[in-house]
């Protein structure tokens, strides 16, 4: 397998390929464009509630990894409402939130994928209570948005044996 890896990604960790400042820059751009001009992700820690939801996309190329967005279910609903702005229905159903939150993870993953040293592909977004547990060298970028903790987790995903 190692002979298939590019020199840039061979042995590199998720944090080395996509360092925190890079992740924050991409997330900030997405928040400003899609959530609202005045909406900011504050680089502070906070408590993650016991009930969370995650949206994730896989990156497949010389480096295989996953980008996961995790927050409370109420924050995911608020993010979806902000994403849709005036076009959100009065009551967001679970499918609306899954779709909107998944799309945010998709855009985040796409932005990060573009910064990798070689061309890669992106999987379709998935949403659930927890992402798959096969990630390695996870690095977590924690922020607060409207007082709610938002985690962006980048990890490597080994090839299945």
């Amino acid at each position: 397998m190692s002979e298939l890896l590019s020199p840039e990604v061979d042995g590199a960790t998720a944090a080395e390929l996509l360092p925190e400042e890079t992740v924050r820059a991409i997330a900030d751009e997405i928040w400003a464009s899609f959530i609202g001009e005045d909406e900011v992700l504050v680089p502070l820690d906070g408590d993650l509630p016991s009930e969370t939801v995650s949206a994730w996309v896989g990156i497949d190329g010389p480096w295989r990894g996953r980008v996961v967005l995790t927050c409370s279910t109420s924050a995911a609903e608020e993010l979806t409402r902000a994403l849709l702005r005036g076009r959100a229905p009065a009551v967001l159903d679970a499918e609306d939130v899954e779709d909107g939150f998944g799309e945010l993870a998709n855009v985040l993953g796409g932005g990060l994928k573009a910064l990798l040293p070689e061309a890669s592909s992106l999987t379709l977004p998935m949403v659930g209570a927890t992402p798959p547990s096969n990630g390695t060298d996870e690095h977590v970028v924690t922020s607060l948005w409207r007082g709610e903790r938002i985690d962006i987790v980048i990890c490597s995903v080994p090839l299945p044996h």
């Binding site: 751009e29 997405i30 464009s33 899609f34 979806t80 994403l83 849709l84 702005r85 005036g86 076009r87 499918e95 609306d96 779709d99 909107g100 998944g102 799309e103 998709n106 855009v107 993953g109 796409g110 932005g111 994928k113 573009a114 061309a119 992106l122 379709l124």
Partner: protein
């Protein structure tokens, strides 16, 4: 003017469709390239198609290729609206016949500017 918004995300279809509606477009939606192609084959020919790249069933690039293979649809303006931002992907889409390329995330102004470049802003919006 009529626009076909093709994206597997309902949220993105609402966002793109809403911006286009504000500009005076009538909107038809499709959840993937095949659903969009079915609409064209049924006789619906929009002025503009906004196309996501990564979708189930049929992706956006395959849709662009299919549209460009049919001379009856040569007047449809094709704009990719996608997270795919690598230079190579942009070149592939434009080479296949897409007229414009808008990378997510985008602002309403960015979409309007692209349409303006294409001469496809039907109403003047302050």
């Amino acid at each position: 003017m009529h626009a076909l918004v093709i994206d597997d995300s309902r949220a993105m279809r609402r966002i793109v469709g809403g911006i286009l509606e504000d500009l005076g477009y009538e909107i038809t939606q499709a959840g993937d390239g095949q659903e969009a192609l079915d609409k064209l084959e049924a006789g619906f020919v929009p002025d503009l198609a906004c196309i996501d790249w990564n979708m189930p069933v049929m992706d956006g690039l395959s849709f662009v290729n299919a549209v460009r293979d049919n001379p009856q649809w040569r007047d449809v303006t094709l704009m990719m609206v996608t997270t795919e931002s690598e230079h190579g992907q942009i070149v592939r889409a434009l080479a296949a016949g897409a007229h414009e390329y808008l990378i997510k995330p985008f602002t309403p102004d960015a979409l309007r500017d692209k349409l303006s470049l294409l001469g496809l802003v039907p109403v003047e919006v302050p």
